[in-house]
C-alpha cells in the first residue's frame, strides 16, 4: 500500500528553519528508508510565501501568488512510501515526529498519514 505522509505546522508560530541536528536526523532516516526499499520519494517545501495558489470559486478560476495571509496551517514536506499496512506507515511517522521532538524543541505540528486511492496493489 502506498502512503503519503504530509507534515504541517501552524503558520502563526515562526520556528525558523529546521535545526542542523534535525536536518541530519531526517536525512539519515530518509536514507535508511530508501535503502530499505520503502521510501519512493520525499521532499521539503519552500515557504508558502514563494508559492502560488490556483483556485476555482463560483465558477471562476484564479491564480494567486503568495504570501497568503489567511493560511493557518502550511505544508512543510512530504514523503511517499510503500508499506505493508497502515500500522507501518504510522510507526514510521511516529519515528519521524520523534526526531522533531528531540532535535527541535518547541516545534509543534502534525504529520498526516494518507493512503493512496486505487486498487490495493503494487
Amino acid at each position: 500500500m502506498r502512503f503519503m505522509s504530509i507534515v504541517t505546522s501552524p503558520r502563526s508560530e515562526t520556528y525558523g528553519n529546521p535545526t542542523p541536528e534535525l536536518l541530519e536526523a531526517m536525512g539519515k532516516l530518509a536514507d535508511r528508508e530508501i535503502k530499505a526499499g520503502r521510501m519512493i520519494d520525499n521532499g521539503g517545501l519552500m515557504p508558502i510565501e514563494q508559492g502560488a495558489r490556483i483556485t476555482i470559486r463560483n465558477g471562476e478560476l484564479s491564480v494567486l501568488d503568495g504570501p497568503f495571509v489567511e493560511a493557518k496551517e502550511v505544508i512543510g514536506g512530504y514523503a511517499i512510501s510503500e508499506f505493508a499496512s497502515k500500522e507501518e506507515a504510522v510507526a514510521l511517522a511516529v519515528e519521524f515526529m520523534q526526531l522533531h521532538k528531540d532535535h527541535m524543541p518547541g516545534w509543534e505540528g502534525t504529520c498526516e498519514v494518507r493512503a493512496f486511492a486505487g486498487p490495493p496493489t503494487a
Partner: protein, 418 residues
C-alpha cells in the same frame, strides 16, 4: 487500544526495525540465521512487554538493546572454544556495561550488512523453494503465517522450509560471508531470481477475497528498490526493477470486475498506472546507461516498455519487440522466448514469417504439451486464411489447456473456423 491493535502496532514497528536488528546482530555473531532467530526472540519480548508498558518512546532502541542482550547471553552460554571467543565476549560485555550509544548503533550505515543479508537469504546453494520464503522472512520481516498465506501453502510447510534453509546455511559455513569479484555476478543473479520469483507469485495468483494475503508484488518491488539503493551500479538490478514496475503498472487493467483475466492487447490502457510506468521507464534508462541493455531482465523490461509506450494496442512497435525478442533469445536460448518472438514477428512482418519461426521450434521438448504452441499456430494459420489447419490447431491447443476457461475459449475459436 485493544490487544489486537497493540499486536499489529508492535508487528509494524518490528518490521521496520528488523533488518537493522538482524544486520547488527549478524555482525556481532558472524551468523545470519542465528541473528534472525534472536531478533524473533526480541519481537516475542516486545509482544509480551509492550501491551503492559505501552510502546516505548524509542522502540528501535528498545528492540536493539533487547536483541543485543539476547546475543550476549547466547555467546555466554557457548563453550569457551578459544581465546578469540573469550576476547569477543569480554569486548561485548564491556560494551554492554558502558552506557551504549544507541544513536551510533542506530545510525550505522547498514548498506553493506544489508547486502550481505540479502545475499545470504538468496544463496544459490539453498534449495530453490526455500529461497523466497527465507528472503521474505529475513529481509521483509514477514511472519511464517503471512508467508504461508501468500504462497497458499500451510504454515508448517513454510516453517519447515525456513528451518531447512537456515540449517543449510549453518552446515555449509555460509552463515556470514559476502561474495566478491566474479562470484558477485553469479550471486546477484540468484538474488534477482528470488525477487522475480516472489513478484511472479504475486502477479499470477489472483488476490481473491483474502485481504490479509500479503501483496507479494509490493514486497518484491521493495526488495528490488533496496538492492538498487544499496548496489546502484548493477544494471540488471535496475532492469529487474523496471520490468516489475512496468508489469505492475497494468494491475488495475488485468482483470474484469468478475476477476477474469484480460489479455494485454485488450486492456483498457487508461487504467494503466502512468506514474508507475514513468518509474519503470526511468529504471530502464538507468539499466541501459550502466551498459545493461543486453541483460536478461533489461531486455524483458524493454519489451514491456514498447507496450507501455503505445497509447493504443494498434500503435505497438512490433518490429522493435521482435528485435528485442531476437536478442533475448540469443541470451536465453529458450524456445518459449522463440514462441513469443514468433508472435511479435507475426505482428510485425505478417503471419507467414511468424509461422517460419514456429516451425523451427515445433519439436522442442520444452514445449511438448504446452498449449500456447498450437494456440499461437492456430492464430497465425487463421490470419493466413488456412482455416481447416487453424481449426485443428485450436482443437489441439484446447486438449492441452490446463484450465476450463481457456479450453472453452480455444474451442470457441476452433468452431469459428468452420
Amino acid at each position: 487500544m485493544t490487544a489486537a491493535d497493540a499486536h499489529r502496532t508492535i508487528l509494524a514497528v518490528w518490521r521496520i526495525e528488523q533488518p537493522r536488528l538482524i544486520t547488527s546482530l549478524a555482525r556481532m555473531l558472524r551468523d545470519v540465521p542465528l541473528a534472525e532467530e534472536l531478533t524473533q526472540d526480541a519481537l516475542l519480548a516486545a509482544l509480551e512487554c509492550w501491551p503492559q508498558t505501552g510502546v516505548p518512546e524509542l522502540p528501535g532502541a528498545w528492540l536493539m538493546t533487547t536483541a543485543r542482550r539476547l546475543a550476549v547471553d547466547h555467546i555466554r552460554r557457548l563453550p569457551m572454544l578459544d581465546r578469540n571467543h573469550a576476547f569477543l565476549l569480554h569486548e561485548l560485555e564491556q560494551e554492554q556495561a558502558e552506557t551504549p550509544d544507541y544513536d551510533a548503533l542506530l545510525d550505522d550505515d547498514i548498506g553493506d550488512e544489508m547486502l550481505r543479508l540479502i545475499f545470504t537469504a538468496c544463496h544459490p546453494l539453498l534449495p530453490y523453494d526455500t529461497r523466497p520464503a527465507l528472503a521474505l522472512r529475513m529481509i521483509c520481516g514477514l511472519t511464517t503465517a503471512e508467508i504461508a498465506r501468500a504462497f497458499l501453502v500451510s504454515e508448517a510447510t513454510v516453517a519447515q522450509r525456513i528451518v531447512r534453509a537456515k540449517r543449510t546455511l549453518t552446515d555449509s559455513g555460509l552463515a556470514y560471508e559476502t561474495p566478491h569479484g566474479e562470484e558477485l555476478a553469479e550471486r546477484l543473479s540468484s538474488v534477482l531470481e528470488v525477487i522475480y520469483l516472489i513478484f511472479n507469485e504475486g502477479y499470477t495468483a489472483a488476490r481473491g477475497d483474502d485481504w490479509l494475503r500479503p501483496d507479494l508484488c509490493s514486497e518484491a518491488l521493495r526488495l528490488a528498490r533496496a538492492v538498487v539503493a544499496i548496489a546502484p551500479h548493477q544494471p540488471e538490478a535496475h532492469g529487474l526493477l523496471a520490468l516489475m514496475e512496468l508489469n505492475a503498472s497494468r494491475t488495475a487493467a488485468r482483470t474484469d470486475p468478475a476477476g477474469e483475466p484480460i489479455l494485454l492487447l485488450d486492456q483498457d490502457r487508461a487504467l494503466w498506472d502512468r506514474a508507475q510506468i514513468q518509474r519503470g521507464m526511468r529504471s530502464l534508462a538507468r539499466a541501459e546507461e550502466r551498459g545493461g541493455a543486453g541483460g536478461f531482465y533489461t531486455l524483458q523490461a524493454a519489451i514491456v516498455a514498447c507496450h507501455a509506450r503505445a497509447a493504443r494496442a494498434a500503435e505497438t512497435d512490433w518490429l522493435r519487440i521482435a528485435l528485442l525478442y531476437a536478442e533475448l533469445s540469443a541470451v536465453t536460448r529458450s524456445p518459449i522466448v522463440e514462441l513469443n518472438r514468433a508472435i511479435a514477428v507475426g505482428m510485425a512482418e505478417g503471419p507467414a514469417s511468424g509461422l517460419v519461426i514456429l516451425d523451427r521450434i515445433a519439436d522442442a521438448p520444452e514445449l511438448a504439451g504446452y498449449h500456447l504452441l498450437p494456440s499461437v499456430r492456430g492464430d497465425l494459420l487463421r490470419r493466413l486464411g488456412r482455416h481447416e489447419e487453424a481449426r485443428a490447431a485450436f482443437e489441439a491447443a484446447a486438449a492441452l489447456a490446463g484450465n476450463k476457461r481457456e479450453r472453452e475459449l480455444l474451442l470457441k475459436r476452433a468452431r469459428e473456423m468452420e
